[in-house]
Amino acid sequence: MSVHVFGRVLGAAALIAVGLLGDTASAVALSDAAGRYAVSNNGSSIRFAIGKIGGGGLSGAFGQFKGTIRIDGGDIARSKVDITIFPESVGTGQGRIDAFLKSDAVFDVANSREITFRSTSVRRTGDNSAVITGQLTARGHTNTEKFTAELQGLKGGQIRFRVSGQVFRSRYQMDVGTPIYSNIVAFDMEFSGRRG
């Protein structure tokens, strides 16, 4: 999730910098977008889904997370995104599943209270999209992950991104239940950040 957020932020920054954004973005000058944005839970969401054998799957969201997006007005490649998720806030609508996800089987929140993503690069892929690469750390395991980001808007000091991507949970010692449940976690995130 953090990776997605970072990706979107970086992608948006790149688009703004190059001046190739769509209608919304094209009106945004790089100097207008440059700055530091604080990602808040308000207007943001981090949702995930895991498919299961035979159809259907498991989906949920994290209720608590924070982050910052720093858009470099001079060199978009130097922009940075940091996202921290608190897995204790995971929710699926089923309390027993939530407890299982928080246990040592998955997030192990007793020993690992945060999941972090720190961007390392951004590559523009379209007028308003980009691929964000970064280091995702969970349960003491760090791996390079990529997310795609789309700029949704920039208005009144408020920037919005939609970020998506897939992560192999086995890379973070969270592969319990495979192959009944897919090893791939699909993230769908929306991030809203306020400059300041």
Binding site: K52, I53, G54, G56, Q94, R96, I97, F100, S103, D104, A105, V106, V176, G177, P179, I180
Partner: protein
């Protein structure tokens, strides 16, 4: 040697008996352990293993019942007293019923669970859920049913084992040993 006769069990009945015995007792032990694990991950994996062996047990029991219906049943030795001779078919019927309903109740349990976790025996194929209503109440009911049917079944197994040991060490007849091999159809150790 594969089929039963009026005096001995064939290899098919013998192998099925011991396979099912090991599975039934092993499943009972696994069931006790898996819900008492500290690690949720280990518990989850043991429960999936319990489900896999449960479906294997159910398949073998159905095969065994079919084999039993299509075969002769060896007669009890002459020295078995009339009361035991009358009780034995009832106890055997209860044992077969336990072998059948315990795994079936487990299947019902996973079918009605609100967690809706698929059953994939030994990660080989998806076993469909039974067409039962999913609900917390139904899950609570089948947890209770599966648990107590298992306790009742294992109580029958214990009685069965004690009876077999009685035949072997006290009555010294052929009842136990003829379930070990078709070659032990006649007791070599009759009391002097």
């Amino acid at each position: 040697m594969l089929r039963n006769t009026t005096t001995r069990y064939g290899w098919a009945a013998i192998v099925l008996h011991w396979l099912i015995a090991a599975l039934f007792i092993g499943q009972f032990a696994l069931g006790l352990v898996m819900v008492r694990m500290t690690s949720q991950r280990t518990s989850f994996e043991l429960i999936q293993l319990h489900k896999s062996f449960g479906f294997l047990l159910l398949g073998l029991v159905l095969l065994r019942i079919g084999w039993r219906l299509g075969n002769l049943s060896p007669e009890l030795p002459d020295e078995v007293d009339p009361l035991e001779r009358k009780a034995a078919p009832t106890v055997h019927l209860l044992l077969y019923a336990a072998q059948l309903v315990v795994p079936l109740s487990g299947w019902a349990l996973v079918s009605v669970s609100v967690l809706e976790i698929p059953s994939v025996p030994f990660n080989l194929f998806v076993m469909p859920h039974l067409p039962l209503q999913v609900s917390d109440a139904a899950e609570t009911f089948w947890v209770f049913g599966h648990k107590w049917l298992a306790y009742a079944g294992i109580a029958l197994v214990v009685l069965h084992i004690l009876a077999a040991l009685r035949h072997h060490f006290w009555l010294r007849d052929v009842v136990l040993v003829r379930m070990i091999s078709p070659f032990f159809a006649r007791s070599p150790r009759k009391p002097e």
